[in-house]
């Protein structure tokens, strides 16, 4: 199967096969693969490119799991670098930002064996007390699975209690790579692929919306990536509850796979593009700037991504693994990144409802000056 044959099928609206996915990952021209993904992206969203005003909170990095790729977790309380916020400390993260409050709080934690379940319920209800309309996108499917096992509840019981406390949706973290050949080596002691997918299935059954991720660029093959995407596509066919897919680039610093090189930018762009093409039933594909740097994320907006995530404010998981991305981006910076990619910035809420649509071409004067200066050089070259 050639890229041109795949392109014909994409244009006819036909679903791509796993074999097509392998061809796309191996194709020697990543820009051509990106062009095809861009066609799909523009068919779905035209130039609209989403971002939100969100804030990350990681209340504890104490974690019983020993994932090889993780530089964030500490095995037990009291270990060097281990931290667990008190509820007041966690709530304070929101209180100090109430002059320009986030619309969404995104909480991801380690699997802490020593906290009561009520800690998490109070955590959520406390945030809602401070800002009743804040959207709480909290706890990966891996955390929900851990809660169910640790506190002796079903997934549905865990989710219903957290919903009652203020939970609004689930983030996509913890998916890593589903295929057991990889998962058994890099994440053997946490939720399996089936358990991860089942948590999402139950959440969707309760009317919740969730995201999904894939951690790529370590020991997996392209076949494993395609298998991962196919499993997500099958879940989405069944439930329709996934809002966005987020490819996450592996970062090697300070973890059990630190001898591996990180995935390159071309790999990041290609993976974004192939994800857009294979996940024909997932509305949004994110270019998560924390994982791929803001510069590459901006380019990914031409390789199939339609969302650049949000302001983040405070992220420690990727920074622990050596990410060079800044800790936060302002809304003005996000708007500018999107505008300079030739797209239309749309501030959204977590459910992709429009909060504010920004103009297309309001490029800051400084950038125009640089472009003009560069273009003059070109004209000189031509003359």
């Amino acid at each position: 199967m050639t890229l041109d044959a795949i392109a014909e099928r994409v244009r006819r609206g036909e679903r791509l096969t796993p074999e097509d996915g392998i061809v796309l990952f191996h194709h020697p021209d990543p820009v051509a693969v990106g062009q095809l993904a861009n066609e799909v992206r523009e068919r779905l969203h035209a130039d609209r490119t989403y971002f939100n005003r969100n804030m990350r909170v990681e209340v504890t990095n104490v974690c019983v799991a020993s994932c090889l790729f993780c530089s964030f977790a500490k095995l037990e309380e009291g270990a060097p670098g281990a931290h667990t916020m008190t509820l007041e400390e966690a709530w304070r993260e929101l209180e100090i930002r109430m002059d320009d409050p986030p619309g969404e709080i995104h909480i991801v934690n380690g699997l802490h064996p020593g906290l009561d379940f009520s800690y998490y319920e109070e955590l959520l209800s406390g945030f809602k007390r401070i800002k009743p309309d804040v959207h709480l996108k909290c706890f990966t499917a891996v955390e929900i699975h851990f809660f169910a096992c640790h506190y002796g509840m079903s997934y549905e019981q865990v989710l219903r209690r957290l919903l009652a406390a203020g939970l609004d949706s689930l983030p996509g973290g913890g998916a890593e790579i589903f295929h057991p050949e990889v998962r058994s080596r890099i994440a053997h002691d946490k939720a399996t692929a089936d358990e991860y997918l089942e948590v999402h299935r139950v959440a969707h059954g309760l009317g919740m919306r969730t995201n999904a991720t894939m951690l790529y660029g370590h020991i997996e093959t392209f076949e494993h990536r395609v298998d991962h995407l196919m499993r997500l596509r099958a879940l989405q066919d069944e439930t329709g509850g996934l809002q966005a897919f987020i490819p996450l680039a592996f970062h090697p610093d300070g973890n059990g796979m630190r001898n591996l090189p990180p995935p390159t930018a071309i790999d990041a762009l290609r993976t974004t593009a192939v994800s857009r093409l294979l996940l024909d039933n997932v509305p949004h594909v994110k270019a998560y700037w924390v994982s791929m740097t803001p510069e590459v994320a901006q380019i990914a907006l031409r390789f199939g991504a339609d969302d650049i995530d949000g302001t983040i404010v405070h992220e420690t998981i990727y920074r622990s693994a050596g990410s060079r991305s800044p800790g936060a981006l302002s809304t003005a910076q996000l708007v500018r990144l999107i505008q300079e990619a030739g797209r239309v910035p749309v501030e959204r809420d977590t459910f992709y409802r429009t909060i504010c649509e920004h103009p297309r071409a309001a490029v800051p004067e400084a950038a125009v000056k640089v472009r003009d200066r560069k273009s003059r050089k070109h004209l000189e070259v031509l003359s």
């Binding site: 051509a32 950038a367 000056k369």
Partner: protein, 189 residues
């Protein structure tokens, strides 16, 4: 060139530019259209020309940093060039610049990630200093390595291997060049 790429170039109204360039002629009067073109179409066009003129080799120039000098940040104002702008600029240099002139990217200034992507947008040379990813310069004799090989390998050699791997993973062939004397071409950072 695949029909997909050719179709995109034709749909963007740039087929004449490609034909002219492949004949060795300058694409006179096309700069306006090129600047307005879709970034990926521009990249595809530049990559076709690069493949014809420069082949798959990527020449890598490792610069020695001035002694005892801290890592240099790009001057204020230079940071205004975003990733998209940089790639557009590189593609324009390849398409509208003198035929067969090398197009070089400085990874010290734009980052290795963008420099690698630039290889798909018409660049055929990389240049920069050997540094950690946080920008700290690596001196001759510094040791690096992880696990059992911790601090047993030359840090500069490791970084050279990383550079070569980065080029290979973009589908190209790395060639380290000791001196850049006599090389003509414009550098973009």
């Amino acid at each position: 060139m695949s029909p997909l790429v050719r179709g995109a170039i034709e749909a963007a109204g740039l087929a004449d530019v490609l034909e002219a360039r492949l004949r060795g002629a300058a694409p006179d009067g096309a700069i306006g259209r090129l600047r307005e073109a879709d970034l990926l179409v521009l990249g595809a066009l530049a990559d076709c020309i690069r493949a014809r003129e420069a082949g798959d080799e990527v020449r890598i120039y490792i610069r020695e940093p001035p002694a005892a000098q801290a890592p240099q940040a790009p001057p204020q104002g230079e940071r205004e060039l975003t990733g998209s702008d940089l790639l557009r600029e590189i593609a324009l240099r390849r398409i509208a610049g003198p035929p067969n002139a090398p197009v070089r990217v400085d990874w010290t200034r734009c980052g290795l990630e963008l420099a690698q992507v630039a290889l798909c947008f018409g660049a055929d040379e990389l240049a920069g200093t050997i540094a950690t990813k946080r920008g700290e310069l690596i001196a001759e004799g510094d040791l690096l390595g992880v696990g059992k090989k911790s601090r047993h390998e030359s840090a500069r050699e490791i970084k050279r291997k990383e550079l070569a791997a980065c080029v290979r993973r973009s589908g190209r062939v790395p060639v380290f060049v000791r001196s850049d004397a006599g090389v003509e071409g414009e550098e973009i950072s």
